[in-house]
Symmetry: C2
Subunit: 258 residues, 2 copies
């Protein structure tokens, strides 16, 4: 089986045009098939403020009313996605931007309104990789924003980490898939103030210990849950760290194991 890298980048890269430019240049040089998944960064919130649309969050997750859905569709699928694609073309990486509606690649269902009504937020139900595999075979790199659809015409805001793990799982039937979550730290840290204190490997057993010790908490919990979800569903390799984990041989990062 061929190897496929699924790489997710978040707001810390997207909000910094220089960091984004250098990431995309390095990303373009990666050999083999690859898929990029990007989050939204601060742009959606900035646009909401400009448009006087109230920003409502619950535990770091955006509550997505109809106006907010329009905003994230414009920002994620429009401005961010198309600018990333245009920059990849500069680096001779032939890319096509995707939402889950494009090619019917990611089908989700609107999250139940209890206990919290998140509005137009979707939980992934099905991933269709056939069209994407055709493109990968033609050396084209899909670039996903964090928007899915419900097959009834409704776009839905979907967590970008989840999109990355679901894509990795979806591709695992036909590829040896590797999932990389890029963020602002070198991985899971024993001491949050020491970027060298990386926990290099975490498995199901040590994960529970790290939670009990309070080393993994807050925003890291859903991220790690996505990692374990992937590694327990036929994804071959799951790593968290800075983008350098992809480009430099001696960089520190956390590998998730079964």
């Amino acid at each position: 089986m061929k190897t496929l890298k699924i790489i997710k980048i978040g707001g810390n890269i997207i909000d910094d045009s220089q960091a984004l430019g250098s990431f995309l240049s390095e990303f373009s040089k990666l050999e083999g098939s690859k898929v990029l998944v990007h989050g939204g960064g601060k742009l959606a919130t900035q646009l909401a403020h400009k448009m006087n649309v109230p920003v409502k969050m619950n535990e770091g997750r955006r509550i997505t009313d109809s106006d907010t859905l329009d905003i994230i569709t414009m920002v994620y699928a429009g401005k961010i996605n198309k600018n990333i694609v245009a920059q990849l073309q500069v680096n001779d990486c032939n890319a096509i931007g995707f939402s889950g509606a494009d090619g019917n690649t990611i089908v989700s269902e609107k999250r139940p309104t209890q206990p919290i009504d998140y509005g137009f937020v979707g939980d992934v139900k099905q991933v269709n990789t056939k069209t994407l595999e055709v493109l990968l075979n033609h050396n084209i790199t899909p670039v996903f924003c964090a928007i899915t659809h419900d097959e009834n015409g409704q776009l839905l805001n979907t967590n970008a980490d989840t999109i990355a793990s679901e894509l990795a799982i979806g591709f695992a039937k036909h590829y040896k898939t590797e999932l990389y979550y890029c963020f602002e730290k070198n991985g899971v840290l024993k001491d949050i103030n020491d970027d060298d204190s990386v926990v290099e490997n975490i498995n199901t057993k040590t994960y529970q210990n790290l939670i009990n010790e309070g080393i993994i908490a807050d925003g890291m919990l859903p991220k790690l849950n996505n990692c374990f979800y992937a590694i327990n569903n036929d994804v071959n390799k799951v790593c968290i760290g800075k983008p350098s984990m992809l480009f430099e041989t001696n960089s520190l990062y956390t590998t998730i194991e079964k």
Copy 2:
């Protein structure tokens, strides 16, 4: 050679959600390969007003500064394009949204700043249909918004009628291409107040007469120029009229001939 229909829809359909819905339902039923090109309608201007970005036009063409480029990228490639794609999926038409940057399909160059500086507006330089043909062969319908790129990372606002004609010409090597411009009238009208007074055929010679008589003027001139540009560059069939020209056998429309 297989037949390929390139269909362009404009603001009159995009701004009317009911008309858009019924158009997309009929479009989905069209047999054979097809490409949809959509304009922007009034949404970009509405968003510019909300964001306090001045709207500057010259002879009906948008002067596109950096803020305006962001707005049209968000509206055309984001909100409009993704909602059209999601609605086509409802109708079992498997679609993928494109800007010219996606798949490096439409390369343009920034228009010279003399005599008028239109800002980030691009004139089409090259169309690459290879990736699109792969998708068409897999029964996938590309949906183009009116944004291109210059291969140096710059997105550029590009006239949607021009994108449609350039795509039709680009595909003409490998397909028998048919280009349909849908707008609010039944075609070129002898009497602008009588929607039945359609000029059914126009060729290069009668075109000049219609201009001299003042029957073709203003906004119809660039549209007709795009039509003749296409028919004189190996496009097999070029028509202007209401969308019904595609779906109903007895509807009136104007056919452009060499």
